[in-house]
Symmetry: C2
Subunit: 115 residues, 2 copies
Amino acid sequence: MAMGKRNAEPCCPPADQAADLRPIEGGAADEELAALAKALGHPARVQILRILVRTSTCVCGDIVDELPLAQSTVSQHLKVLKEVGLIRGEVDGPRVCYCIEPRALRRLKALVGGL
Amino acid sequence: MAMGKRNAEPCCPPADQAADLRPIEGGAADEELAALAKALGHPARVQILRILVRTSTCVCGDIVDELPLAQSTVSQHLKVLKEVGLIRGEVDGPRVCYCIEPRALRRLKALVGGL
DNA sequence: GGCGCCTATCGTCGGTCTACGATGGCAATG
DNA sequence: CATTGCCATCGTAGACCGACGATAGGCGCC
């Protein structure tokens, strides 16, 4: 099992289209938007997010090469994005594949759009 | 002069509808989005922004009363929002009126929507 | 089994943020 | 002219963030 398969979608979510029912304003929404915005509040993380959105598939070990930062620093930025739920990381054999979490991205757009 | 006048628009921008021509992606856009997002990355600032958007007119001295923070702290949050251009503050006699900057808000929505 | 690659985590240092009280400036009021 | 109200700024203390090197762990390969 688990031969060298590393093509398109070993981890990307299956395009769920369920609408988000949480409110778009109020105290809880304020804190949620603030948390998401804080995660975006760094150029490197914006860049990482863009890379993941652009490829529209999971990216494994190539993210470090795209940024002028040390490997540990990139790992921490990935951790921040993962903690707010904007990205997902799954182990695919020897490497870890990161992909975007479309629901969280839609949620962010909804919260910002609701301003 | 200047009796209790504090109604609609002593400072609010005249609803300019000029489209923003700056690019929505690339290195400069990344830093711009990161700066805007960092300014939003605090619940108090999200709340302030919502207050200004809700009233859709300038708010003078009532912002401090809406938040559970000291006056100096609120002033600093206002300064952060002003430095990224999301809000505008103009002196109106004895008090200072804050209002939202629709262009910056539209720019933020465009940048987030462009993800 | 041992080696090498890739990633996460730890520890640390310097810088920034957040919160507050205290202080100072400015305009209107008395 | 003195006072009052409103806001900005300063100074400070504690918490957090961003960056890095060093270290540890998991997996494939020889």
